[in-house]
């Protein structure tokens, strides 16, 4: 069924911030929520009380004017702990994403250019991908002294293979393009081709993937803390909080749902940003991942 080409002349999209918001609701929504949470985490000392001070006499108080999210079993202010917990989660999400993307990019580029590297590396990545991420992280952490850096490393490791696959796939696709042949034929050296053509092509899908990695990292960190295989119990993370207040679910649900909902909100925001970016940048390779 054909309609004359004249019919398809579209009205040019209007510019301006308001129209950007209207056309990218998921992206903007996610960014706003994320920004608010990040801001809260940054200015935590200003808006929240002391996350560590325990006043057993105040234990398990429901949310009130003084304690916005109530208190936990040791009398600690849940709101304060939740806000401070955001710091760890965001830090972990950011660090894991950065590390996984960097290492993945490097390995992926090598794999895209060298056949030998590729065959070895891709097999290794297949092997790594076969181990469920949480279990790998658990194993890693259980063999070392618990600390935030160890947790970051443990979570970053299983995220690397997916990034490598993505980068390699982009490199292979871009390499096939005629303009690369033309560049090589006209004497352009490899580093310049890399810089000018290959790397820019990897950026959009990598950014999208980075958000999903960050979201996944935040979830895994929380899960690890919940299981007791994550950040040490003194550090207030949302996973820790939920783990230690488990038995009070019936009595004091706020101790669990305060951090629980915060966790869901952050991950949701990051996922929305990722979806919004993906829709905007339309990296077909990332979508297939």
């Amino acid at each position: 069924m054909t309609v004359a080409a004249a019919e398809l002349a579209r009205v040019p999209p209007r510019s301006g911030l308001w129209h950007f918001v209207r056309r990218n609701p998921t992206l903007v929504g996610g960014l706003v929520v994320l920004a608010l949470i990040a801001l809260a985490a940054l200015i935590a000392p200003l808006i929240a009380g002391d996350p560590i001070a325990a006043k057993p006499v105040n234990r398990l108080r429901p949310p009130s004017q003084i304690n916005w999210l109530g208190t936990d079993q040791l009398g600690r202010d849940v709101w304060a702990r939740t806000v401070y917990g955001a710091r760890i989660s965001l830090l972990v999400g950011l660090s894991v994403a950065t590390i996984a993307m960097s290492i993945g990019l490097l390995i992926g580029l090598l794999a895209g250019f060298s056949r030998t590297v590729e065959s070895v590396v891709m097999r290794l990545m297949d092997g790594l991908m076969a181990i469920p991420a949480i279990l790998l992280a658990i194993a890693f952490v259980s063999l070392s002294k618990a600390s935030v850096s160890i947790v970051v490393a443990a979570i970053a490791l299983p995220e690397i293979p997916r990034v490598v696959r993505l980068v390699r796939s982009v490199v292979l696709t871009v390499r096939e393009q005629p303009f690369i042949e033309a560049a090589v034929a006209s004497g352009t050296r490899l580093p310049k081709i890399l810089r000018r053509h290959i790397l820019p092509a990897t950026v959009p899908p990598l950014i999208v993937q980075a958000t999903y990695v960050a979201a996944s990292a935040i979830l895994i960190e929380a899960a690890l803390s919940f299981l007791g295989a994550g950040t040490p119990p003194e550090v207030p993370t949302w996973g820790n909080m939920i783990a230690s207040s488990r038995v009070y679910l019936g009595l004091a649900p706020w101790t669990i749902f305060g951090p629980g909902i915060a966790l869901a909100l952050v991950v949701l925001a990051v996922n929305l940003v990722g979806d919004g970016l993906r829709d905007r940048l339309d990296p077909r390779i990332a979508r297939r991942m």
Partner: protein, 313 residues
């Protein structure tokens, strides 16, 4: 076709081998002395040395690996440090709760997700579609344990419709077994449903726009067969791929779900082993779960020929 199967099997074996190497290396290359970690914080140097010798940690790495690999291949997954029971036995004792959970989750999740995805694609742009999309992003973002506690709070504690935690073996009655699994399956499967529903919707949208759907309509095919026989089968390959890859989510989630709902399965076994640093157990379970994951994905690959006759090996 036969040649392909053999190649895939070899590839699978290679991957499993790599998994073994990784897990082995993890123990031996992570920061800290494995013997000291296994011995615990209060061990004396003599005790640590004893453990080191008993685990053969003084031998060269490749010798240790060879030894370890031989044992694993003969079914010996090591011995739990704390209970002195072979890991394989421990796993066998706890396999049924985990299997029950996995089975109910997969069946319920895949059914629900396919239905939701097909509905969303069929009514693309409508309220139903948007609802499915929103629920799927949310479902993918809320962690398993938060969903779990939410469900327990609402359905078990407040409404008292379902038991709070625990497991009842099938032998003791169908309904007790099922009722104990409803909430855990829901919590575990939510992210899985979200993932599959999304890919189903995307794949179905692509297929519904194809010319052959119009041909089917021109033949007078009714909506039901159009969606399921004509469209869904054609969209099968990407959907089944995600069903396979998503199993990784489930495996990770099993550990958390069994903790939240107090199910005496393999997941709980691992969690208990974490606090006690009982590494042989952790190692054994990882090998098992990785093996399961790899085999499932092998089956998924083989299923492609059934779904799409253009794919022939």
């Amino acid at each position: 076709m036969g040649a392909f199967i053999i190649r895939r099997l070899l590839s699978t074996l290679l991957v499993m081998g790599l998994v073994g190497v990784f897990i082995f290396l993890l123990l031996h290359l992570s920061p800290g002395d494995p013997a000291a970690i296994i011995a615990g914080d209060n061990a004396t140097p003599a005790q640590i040395e004893a453990i080191r010798t008993s685990l053969g940690l003084n031998d060269p790495l490749h010798v240790q690996f060879g030894r370890w690999a031989m044992r694993v291949l003969s079914g010996d997954l090591g011995i739990s440090i704390f209970s002195n029971v072979p890991v394989a036995t421990l796993i066998a004792q706890r396999v049924w709760p985990t299997l029950s959970l996995a089975f109910t989750t997969i069946v319920l999740a895949v059914t629900l997700a396919l239905a939701a995805g097909v509905l969303a694609a069929w009514k693309a742009g409508s309220l139903a579609d948007r609802l499915v999309m929103i629920l799927s992003v949310v479902g993918f973002s809320v962690p398993v344990f938060v969903v779990g506690y939410l469900l327990i709070y609402v359905f078990a504690i407040s409404l008292r419709w379902l038991p709070v935690q625990g497991y009842s073996p099938l032998a003791e009655g169908f309904w007790p077994w099922a009722s104990h699994l409803i909430l855990p399956s829901t919590a575990l499967g939510l992210a899985y449903v979200a993932l599959i529903a999304r890919i189903t919707r995307t794949a179905m949208l692509d297929v519904l726009a194809e010319d052959y759907m119009r041909t089917a309509r021109a033949k007078g095919v009714a909506t039901g067969p159009m969606l399921f026989k004509h469209a869904l089968k054609s969209a099968g390959v990407p959907i089944v791929t995600v069903v396979g890859i998503g199993i990784a989510l489930l495996i990770g989630g099993v550990v958390i779900t069994e903790t939240v709902f107090n199910l005496p399965g393999i997941g709980r076994l691992v969690v208990d082993a974490i606090s006690k640093r009982d590494y042989p157990i952790i190692q054994g379970v990882i090998l098992l779960f990785s093996g399961v994951y790899v085999i499932i994905n092998l089956l998924v690959d083989l299923s492609y020929t059934l779904l799409d006759p253009r794919i022939r090996y």
